[in-house]
Symmetry: C2
Subunit: 236 residues, 2 copies
């Protein structure tokens, strides 16, 4: 039976980390909220499921409903060879993913530093300050951490964990994609100092299934409603 992914149908957002894993795995899945009535079904499940997800994305696999991006990837990674089979390697991959999740949450908060219930225009002054701190301190700190992990991976080969691709590699690719869209200047600057991160990003774009996905209509373009938004005044 096909997986059903539930996520907002007009943005990449957090759902994109799951989409990339499903695509790389060649898994049979339905992007359920992009079908007719899909959003209504999604909202109903959030309200009434025995295990209600707090927010999208969530994945339905038969009777199992799993929320939280990192938990979904933990589940998919073990089933589709996108994480090491040994428990320590699996946990390390998950730890990297959780840190990526923190990074993505901070990227989101650059344009919503006061609250998600307010428009960007109503928190622009705060956003200018937060984005500066994010560009100057946080982007380099996070990217340097990933660079150190890549450099220190005893298996080498350009992956974060072990010798083969994991969902953490796909997620780092997506984080770099999003940052490059939202903060093109600051990200390009940071990437010159983290060449292993840049190389991993480029290598992922060349994987056949990912390449096909990125060229397909299934890949939603970045826009001003997602996590990563291009407000030129927030870059620099």
């Amino acid at each position: 039976m096909a997986y059903e992914l539930y996520y907002w149908p007009s943005i990449q957002g957090r759902g994109e980390f799951v989409r990339l894993a499903l695509e790389e795995a060649g898994a049979d899945y339905i992007d359920a909220a992009r079908e007719a009535e899909g959003v209504a079904v999604m909202l109903r499940m959030m309200k009434h499921a025995e295990h209600p997800p707090f927010a999208p994305p969530f994945l339905k696999d038969g009777e199992t409903v799993i929320g939280q991006t990192a938990a979904i990837l933990l589940y998919l990674g073990a089933r589709h060879g996108l994480a090491p089979k040994d428990p320590a390697g699996g946990l390390w991959t998950h730890q990297i993913q959780l840190t990526l999740g923190d990074f993505v949450a901070e990227a989101h908060d650059t344009h919503h530093p006061v609250g998600v219930s307010l428009y960007y225009e109503d928190q622009k002054d705060e956003a200018l300050r937060r984005a500066q701190d994010f560009r100057d301190s946080r982007i380099p700190k996070f990217l340097n951490w990933f660079e150190a992990i890549l450099a220190r991976n005893p298996s080498g080969g350009g992956h974060l964990v072990g010798k083969t691709l994991t969902y953490a590699d796909l997620s780092l690719f997506q984080a770099v994609e999003g940052l490059s869209y939202a903060f093109p200047k600051a990200t390009a600057r940071a990437l010159t100092k983290t060449p292993l991160v840049a190389a991993l990003h480029d290598a992922v774009t060349e994987r056949p299934r990912i390449k096909a996905y990125l060229a397909s209509p299934r890949r939603i373009p970045f826009n001003q409603e997602g996590i990563f938004r291009r407000y030129p005044e927030l870059d620099g």
Copy 2:
């Protein structure tokens, strides 16, 4: 061999979620950064470990080093009966923990909406706005979600998952503790509408090992350096 927990020695912070699990499990552990030279050792490990944690807390179990609060609890929960043994139940417990982590991060950002590298005093205007949104929208939204899970748990018994205590119960207790310290008025107001959450909090305080822990010097009092801080102007 005793576990070694590494976390900032003067605050509860995110380390407290791990401390509570270790205490409830009756596990043999050292709060390593509270020993002499402990912080220096912690910072060295963050810099040089093959699997460097991005930030404290992290747990050392023999040669294994695990960072990210939720990943540590996933590891401990399986070893100490603080999570269901079946994979679906374990993942659901983890999903709840990840949502608690999001809630805690938002609580932190009420006093640091611009950036962690700046003092509260330098982002107080932004903090006033963010705290209002947090009190009015986010505290009720999160607590209502936990209330629904407690009400919907088919096993009943006042636990989030299954019939017995999990680390998610301990973490929800700690979130309520922190919120009640930082936002006493707003939290008391929200808890009147989420009686199952309030009852779970109270039940956890009566567990013998937790009760002994809370009365011991191992429990660091809340203060103005942790995640949960009492700035009266942010409550209301």
